[in-house]
Each structure stands twice: as structure tokens, then as C-alpha cells.
């Protein structure tokens, strides 16, 4: 950033950070995205659907590239393609049994086709290469008020839906057979979750880029699950880690010329490694149930 100079006067740094509206919007967007990504990502990791999440992210790429080619905001491309792809993956899911491994072939097919379309749209657009970089590795520049509002509306909707189905969703994720016997509609919940995951991936992609969505979707929950097996605590730690790495990533990216995706991912990676080291120590906090 031109004009931004990091100093040891932290107050001044914070003042510099929020000096421009685009940066304020970047923090707003990042905060919304981190909370949603943490909560949905936690369930994704428990459900072992990271491959589906990754595919949804890659589907976002042609969506965004196509939207840019058509002259609309990339955000709409992300939402439309990720949402639609979630429904396709849900339809590909085998009817019987909860075998996550069986769905992988179908998801792989969707993923390859999505990437191919993305590169087609990019070459049709012939735009400057920087645009592609932003789509793949993230950008926090030029986030408008309207975009923040869109992120907020979609994010709150996803969180409310997750709150409503949280308990049966956890039941269906951990123990699908017993959940089904208890009258939980495992299949419908799995479709709903994929749609929520698609929307979340679309949100995260707009900050971290499509290739780095896992920085917020997988790394914070993986970190939290290393630290505690208690679902409620783990969920709170996940959201905390996601917020922290997003804020830190934004701040550092502001003072350096390097892309934000790198910093968010690096901080999340550091958190994961730190949690892993912490867990290797024999210290075990006895849970007070």
C-alpha cells in the first residue's frame, strides 16, 4: 500500500488501517466471512466433506470469471455457481448409506469440468491477468457497501439456518444410522448442509480467493478440534481462530505489497501447527462434564 507505513506506534497503525473506507469495508467483509466460515467449516470437518467444499470453491472460479466476462459483479457469479453446484453434488450423492467415499468420483467430475469452464471464461474475457489472480488467491480491494450488505444477508441467513438444524445435523453427522432411526431426516439435512456450504464457500472465496478457501473453512476447525473434543467449546474456538487470522491477515496485507490470501493462510497454518504442538505436551485438561 502506498502511504501506509508500519510503525511501532500501534495506535497509529490502527488509525492508518481504518483511514480509508475500502479498508473499513474489508474488515467488515472479513469479519462476516470469518464467522460464517468458522461455523459451517466446523461441521464440514466433522462430516468429512472437505472434498465437496473444495469442489464448490473451484466451481466458484468459473462463476466469478463468467460474471466478470458478462460485466456483473464477481460476487453474483460466486453465489450462483456455488449454490447450483451444491445442489448438483447433493443430487449425485448415493441414495442409500452415508458413504462419503462413494460420492468422491462424482464430485471429481464436477470439479474438473468447473475448472475447464473457468479457464474458458477467462480466455474469453481476455482481461488483465491480475483479475484472475484475485479470483484465485483473494483480494480485499474495492469491496463496496453493497457487497458487504450482500455478504451480511447471506451470512446471517446461513447462520440462522445452521442454528435451527445444528443439533440434528451434528447427530446425523456423527451417527447417521441412529439419527435416522430417531426420525431425523438425514438425507434432507445433508442436502441443506451442502447448500449452506456452497453459500459459505461463495462468501469465503470473495476474500481468500477460490484456491485458498480452506484457510478459513478447514484450518480453524481443524485447529479447534485438536484443542478440544467438546463441541460447543470447539465451535467457539473455531470462530475465534477464523476471526483472528482474518483480522491479522488484513492488517499485515495492508502494510505490505503481498496478497491477503497468503497471510490469512499462513496465520491459520501457524495456529494449526501451534495447536498441534500444544497437544503433544502430556498436559491434559480434565473436562468437567
Amino acid at each position: 500500500m502506498s502511504g501506509a507505513h508500519f510503525s511501532w506506534d500501534l495506535l497509529d497503525d490502527v488509525r492508518q488501517l481504518f483511514q480509508f473506507p475500502f479498508m473499513v469495508n474489508a474488515f467488515r467483509a472479513g469479519t462476516i466471512v470469518a464467522v460464517v466460515a468458522g461455523a459451517i467449516g466446523w461441521f464440514m470437518v466433522i462430516r468429512r466433506q472437505a472434498f465437496a467444499g473444495h469442489t464448490l470453491a473451484l466451481v466458484g472460479f468459473p462463476g466469478a470469471a463468467g460474471a466478470v466476462w458478462l460485466g456483473v459483479s464477481a460476487a453474483w457469479g460466486f453465489f450462483a455457481f456455488c449454490g447450483a453446484a451444491a445442489l448438483v453434488i447433493a443430487a449425485l450423492r448415493p441414495q442409500r448409506g452415508e458413504g462419503y467415499s462413494e460420492e468422491s468420483a462424482g464430485i471429481g467430475v464436477v470439479q474438473a469440468f468447473a475448472l475447464a469452464c473457468g479457464f474458458l471464461f477467462v480466455s474469453l474475457y481476455r482481461g488483465f491477468l491480475n483479475g484472475v489472480n484475485a479470483l484465485l488467491f483473494g483480494s480485499f480491494l474495492g469491496i463496496t457497501n453493497a457487497q458487504v450488505l450482500a455478504l451480511l444477508v447471506v451470512g446471517v441467513t446461513a447462520l440462522v439456518a445452521l442454528g435451527a438444524v445444528g443439533r440434528p445435523l451434528l447427530f446425523a453427522s456423527v451417527d447417521p444410522d441412529v439419527a435416522a432411526a430417531r426420525g431425523v431426516d438425514v438425507r434432507k439435512l445433508s442436502v441443506l448442509f451442502l447448500v449452506l456450504l456452497g453459500l459459505t464457500v461463495a462468501e469465503v472465496s470473495q476474500i481468500t480467493g477460490t484456491l485458498l478457501v480452506f484457510a478459513l473453512l478447514v484450518m480453524p476447525p481443524a485447529t479447534a478440534q485438536l484443542l478440544t473434543p467438546r463441541p460447543a467449546v470447539s465451535l467457539v474456538v473455531t470462530v475465534g481462530v477464523a476471526l483472528l487470522v482474518t483480522w491479522l491477515g488484513l492488517a499485515v496485507a495492508y502494510f505490505t505489497p503481498y496478497p491477503i490470501g497468503f497471510f490469512v493462510t499462513s496465520f491459520a497454518f501457524a495456529a494449526y501447527v501451534g495447536a498441534g504442538l500444544l497437544r503433544r505436551r502430556p498436559l491434559r485438561v480434565r473436562a468437567v462434564a
Binding site: G166, R167, L170, A179, R182, L226, P229, A232, A287
Partner: protein, 276 residues
Amino acid sequence: MKTALHTDAIEARDAAVRIGGRLIWEHLDLSIGSGQFVAVLGPNGAGKSTLVNTVLGLLPLAAGALSVLGTDPGTRNAEIGYLPQRRSFDAGLRVRGVDVVRLGLDGDKWGLPRPGRRRNEEARRRVAEVIDLVDAAAYADRPVGEVSGGEQQRILIAQALVRRPVLLLLDEPLDSLDLPNQAAVAALVARICRTEGVTVVMVAHDVNPILPYLDHVVYLGRGGAVSGSPADVITSETLTRLFGTPIEVLQAADGRLVVVGQPEPPAYHVDRHQHP
């Protein structure tokens, strides 16, 4: 011994089940009194899990009649504790045993549990109580993927018991356990059956670990279905006829019966239950 004064927990008359046109079993007559410990035995593919599914109302009968807890199957499932054929938990699953039991209590309710509420406290107490009942308190706070197979099985039995069911359906809970654990879990289930007055229907491959506790035996085999007291059913000639292979029932020095020559549990279980 439970007497005929009790109403029947499960009663079947000339029942038959077909799946995709294929006859699984027929002419099944059953009368299981409440509070009894019942074993469902038979070779692979005989329809043992199918019987559990019909009791749960998940599969319709092709013929005959079946009543569960005095009414149609499926209507009183809330009072049935069910432990499906298992699948152990993934070693990486970072969810505690208490959470698995708690999900069995109110995991089907919408929304999230709110801490501090009285109902939440009661739920906690019930979960702790049932974990004590199966002697799982020592490891219930550890991630369920990290505890042993026998310990997971106790957690799952606690989960099946947490709603105070009157009928417990256990589908091969002794499968994949080593011999000491088979004996320990069998004794635990028998104890719960006696002290809590729960009717237990256990699907099993090997009758020996549960033989001392049984009130009633249902044998599903190629030669038809037979149901009755262990003394009537577990004889060399009945079993030989049912399995179509020579089987001997011997009496050990301490008076216990031992079944010899029944088909060994298979080494692989992969697709056995995709064609029930």
C-alpha cells in the same frame, strides 16, 4: 423368569418379509414377553437385521401380523432403544462419548441446547446416570474415536438406553469385540435387562457369550424360523436342521451349554447388509 402375566413386547403370527421380491423369511411365530432377554440367531443373510427393521417399522410385512409393544410396528419407536449394526467410530472423530450419548437423548430436537436451562441440567444428569450404568464414566470424556471397541460399544449401549426405552434392539453388539469384551458386554446387557426391566432383543452371530442369560431364542435359518426357550431350540438336532450343517450342543462340566460347529463369523463384513 418372567411370566405370561406381562403383555407381549413383540408378537408375530405367521409373518413373512420380502425384499425386492426375494423371500427373506416366512412362517415366523414369535411371542416375546416384556423384560425378557431374547437372542436372534442364524447364519449370514438369514434376515436377522431384517427382523430388527420390521420391528422398527422400517420394512413392511409381506404376510402375517406383527405387533410391537401392543401396537403396529413403528408407532412406539420413541420407547425403543436401537443400536444398529456397527461400524466403529472413525479414529479421528473429535467428539466425546458423552456427546454421543447426549445426541441419543435430544439430538433429534431442532435448535441448539441452551446452557443453564433446567431442562439442560436434567439432560446432563440423565446422561451421567446412564454412563454410570454401563460403567463408562472413566472414558466418556475422551474423544469417542480414541477409545477401544468394547468401550465404544458401552457408550453406544448407553446412548440406546438414555431415553429409558422399554425395548432395546441391539444388532450384533458383540461383533468385532474380543472374547473377554464379548463376555463383559453380554453380562452388562443381561444386568440392564434384569435391573431396568427392559426387554432386550439381541442379534448375534455366536450364541455362546449370551447363552447363560437367555430367556428366549429366535433362530432364523434356511430351514425356516424357530422360536422358543433355549432348552427347546438349542439342541443338536434343531440347530443341525436349521443351519443345514452338523452342529453339536455340548454340556460343559459346570452345566453351561456350548454350541460347536456353527458357522464361524466371517472374516469380512463388507457388503453383507446391503442385501439384507
